[in-house]
Homo-oligomer: 329 residues x 2
DNA sequence: CTGAAAGCGCTAACAG
DNA sequence: CTGTTAGCGCTTTCAG
């Protein structure tokens, strides 16, 4: 149907080898020959068949992005952002991208096997057995938004600690001394980092934040609202809530309203992720912006370095976070 | 590196043709032979190489999803939902999926050319010249969330008219007689449908909704808030706002609050899309749920039908909408 | 700088 | 039911 390298060869009067070179190694073909080839190609609407190239080169330039988060997927704004960054970078570098969700690990495994991907970016809470299976098939692996110690895998993460600090120091600078944390059960890595950062930073500022100041809940608005109501029922009620993500923050705002507390006067609230909902809430939600797009781009870069056989791929890449102050604090 | 059909052939003692059949046409191989083949394959960790299959079959089973919406992408919850449905269906049917955004049409064009996709799902506001270029390369094309008359292309859309009716009749049943519409500048098709539905339905119910009851704005919270303030400044102020999507609805809520109106008592608001923000708003937003996931699935089905040479692929597939009543009305 | 030729791993007649 | 064989479109030595 489409024209092939043979058609171009015939029309331009050179061998198929030369046509091939003209496209893949232009500088190994004499200028005038090259022009002849391109002209013929133009006429015939020829462009190299990627499948045949992959076949001959024994290289697919195809990678996969696997979202390992229970129930989550591309629908999660956070992962959508990462995915978008990945897409941009794969497109730019002429790689091909396959996307899967870990909900169906067998399938994902199959994909990476049948579809001949050469590397995998694992987003979120990847199970170690997945990782080792992937590596045993000697695929290149990069972790994004996750970090596993002991394994020799490059990872790309946001500056969790720094992000938490930005939010907390902002609240402290506004005079808050009694800050509570609303934490959701997300992936162990993320939760762990944010939790640790909260404890260390409050402590460093001389605030007595202990277990009573931290409440764990499911990652839904309602669950967060309920948890926050408890937090606000303490005799010594917090004047600020540091929520570990925006959904929880929305729950906190809901709780405040139910208890007749005004935001930010009676209660300040900060979120984390800077999702699109921040601007829709009333008041608008102060949040820590995470550069998901950049994280996606960088994970592709790391993976490509791995595939290129680079010996010194940085084991950890940290993307800085940024505070976006809005009406809720 | 990986084992090939030859390895399996050798180990199992049958010809490569039989190995091939065992995998692609199991019923054309004697049970016992088949078992031998699969055993050998197991031992060798063999699985067919999709690239080589594509090469030999002259068929890639690869399709593309192209989001044609200015500035939008997978980050848009709506398109993410469609994309998710598409992914589910392509995985289920062993197709491969390539995703692009129309921001880079040249690139998208290239993709579909080099990467040998056989069909394209165009999401949103595809330009006719894109479509015809695609068709001229004789790719199968399906439109999702869009409809272009005069072209012979199957399309999959939500029941826009029905969705608008659900929202409006809900408001009317709550006693509202003065309903205004807040419309964003989205794609002509979507806007057109919702606009027409609003006019016809209000008219059918004897409400005098004219140009003064409709306000167009940019698709941002702030722009919607400003537009809504104007709407609410009329001497004969509306008691309900029908927003053409959830972002605009959030803007409307913001405007109401600024003007000291309580929701839903002084002003009812309904949205459209039923995005995840609905539950985060205060009060929660009544909205029309659109089954994006289903739309995605169905577009794949239509595309596959087209590729299979089906003569009677339905030209239009309509996915029903559903009202989700919440506190804002 | 260019051409001839040998594959890459698999499928699909065709023949048995 | 199974084996033989000729490609699929391109890359890549190896000679010239």
């Amino acid at each position: 149907m489409n024209s092939t390298i043979y058609d171009v060869s015939r029309l331009s009067g050179v061998s198929i080898a030369t046509v091939s070179r003209a496209f893949s190694n232009p500088d190994r073909v004499r200028e005038s020959t090259r022009r002849k080839v391109f002209e013929a190609a133009e006429v015939l609407h020829y462009s190299p068949n990627a499948i045949a190239q992959a076949m001959a080169r024994q290289r697919t330039d195809k990678i996969a992005f696997l979202i390992c988060k229970e129930g989550a997927s591309i629908l999660d704004e956070f992962y959508a952002g990462i995915c978008n960054g990945i897409m941009g970078e794969t497109n730019r570098t002429d790689y091909e991208l396959v996307i899967s969700t870990a909900a169906d690990w067998d399938m994902a495994a199959n994909t990476s096997k049948n579809k001949q991907v050469e590397g995998v970016i694992l987003g979120g809470n990847a199970r170690p057995d997945m990782i080792s299976e992937l590596q045993s098939r000697n695929l290149a692996v990069v972790l994004v938004n996750n970090r596993i110690s002991g394994l020799d895998i490059p990872c790309v993460v946001s500056d969790e600690y720094g992000g938490v600090r930005l939010a907390l120091e902002h609240l402290i600078s506004r005079g808050h001394q009694n800050i509570a944390m609303l934490a959701g059960r997300f992936s162990p890595y993320i939760l762990g980092e944010r939790y640790r950062a909260f404890l260390e930073i409050t402590q460093a500022h001389g605030l007595a934040a202990d277990a009573r100041h931290i409440k764990l809940c499911d990652p839904t608005v309602e669950s967060a609202a309920a948890a926050c109501q408890e937090l606000l029922s303490h005799p010594d009620r917090p004047t600020a809530i540091f929520a570990a993500n925006d959904v929880l923050a929305a729950g906190a705002m809901k709780a405040a309203r139910r208890m007749g507390l005004r935001i930010p006067d009676d209660l300040a609230v900060t979120g984390l992720d800077d999702s699109s909902a921040c601007g829709m809430l009333e008041p608008e939600l102060t949040s820590v912006h995470i550069d998901c797009h950049r994280m996606g781009e960088l994970s592709v870069a790391r993976l490509q370095a791995l595939l290129a056989g680079d010996q010194d791929v940085p084991p950890v890449t940290v993307v800085p976070a940024e505070l976006r102050v809005r009406g809720s604090s």
